[in-house]
């Protein structure tokens, strides 16, 4: 692939995915989002330069973003973590009680299921895109998502029954 065509392809991908990727990093890493987006595209550029042709650039980028996010969390400063926790506690107080209970259910899920929920409902990735980003089969994505929603449904139903019995 020539340098010019590679550059054009990257620009296209950036136009399609840049905002989503920025949102992904901003939610997790605040002000570091811009740097992380840039790093994601740098890694994508290297892979394209090696001749790799991802079927879904968007899913591929989210896979890269995921690894960068994990690395970022590992290196994160304690102060920033505490800041995020404080923000989270404030948000929890102001939140609908039903969402707080739903949060407990989701927080208790295995990490893969939680991440699938996030990628689907926050970032709109399809089953196929999530499978690429997470490096798992599509069937696994589907079954894990169904399982997570089933548990959430069960919790909501239990709470509704106990409320109606009062």
């Amino acid at each position: 692939m020539s340098a010019e065509s590679e550059k054009a392809e990257l620009e296209t991908i950036f136009r399609q995915c840049g905002n989503d990727l920025t949102a992904y990093f901003a939610r997790r890493h605040g002000g570091a989002a811009e740097d992380l987006v840039q790093e994601s595209f740098l890694q994508l550029a290297k892979r394209l330069g090696r001749g790799e042709k991802p079927r879904s650039p968007r899913a591929y980028l989210f896979g890269i973003a995921r690894h960068l996010s994990m690395a970022c969390f590992r290196n994160q400063q304690t102060g920033r973590e505490q800041e995020l926790r404080c923000e989270e506690e404030v948000a929890a107080e102001e939140t609908d009680e039903r969402l707080s209970r739903a949060r407990e259910v989701i927080a208790a899920l295995p990490p893969l299921q939680r991440e699938i929920l996030d990628l689907r409902f926050m970032h709109g990735l399809s089953y196929g895109e999530m499978a690429i980003a997470l490096a798992v089969p599509v069937g696994t994505v589907r079954s894990r998502l169904h399982n997570a929603l089933g548990l959430l449904r069960e919790k909501i139903s239990t709470e509704e029954k106990s409320t109606s019995n009062l």
Binding site: R28, L117, F121, L149
Partner: protein, 149 residues
């Protein structure tokens, strides 16, 4: 159709993951089973709650490393006494086998490996000059008459 299958298909349809043909088939089935509308309402409510919760709490989607390597089989250290017993048994069986091997060695093997001594030649003159002492095939020495006497 089971309740679980229906719920799964409804989720897939609401998330836009069904093919157009599958979505049409499901829609026909739902039209023939009006009682399934309650299930559809529950699915939509669950999806809405999940969507709102995930958007409200970004920490929920924090990526964590997933195990991709094949886990090694865990090594369970044998108790010391058991390991010692196994070692003793192995040594004992080895010693027994060695002894058995020695005892069952075929006769003549040792003899065949013996170096045959040179025949003892008598002096050139005297009554014994026509005889010679040589090793016997049956073992030991024997006297033979020499041809030139």
């Amino acid at each position: 159709m089971t309740e679980e299958s229906l719920r799964a298909l409804l989720i897939d349809r609401e998330l836009g993951e069904l093919t157009p043909e599958a979505a049409d088939l499901l829609q026909s089935w739902l039209a023939d089973h009006p009682g399934s509308n309650a299930e559809l309402a529950q699915v939509r409510e669950t999806l809405q709650i999940a969507r709102e919760t995930v958007r409200r709490f970004p920490d929920l989607g924090r990526p964590e490393p997933t195990v991709t390597s094949i886990p090694r089989a865990s090594f369970r250290a044998l108790p010391l006494a058991l390991a010692a017993s196994v070692a003793v048994l192995l040594a004992l069986s080895g010693w027994i086998g060695f002894q058995a091997g020695l005892a069952s060695a075929p006769v003549g093997v040792v003899e065949k490996t013996q170096i045959q001594p040179d025949p003892i030649r008598p002096p050139e003159r005297g009554p014994w000059t026509k005889y010679a002492l040589v090793s016997s095939p049956q073992g030991g020495l024997t006297v033979v008459r020499t041809e030139d006497n």
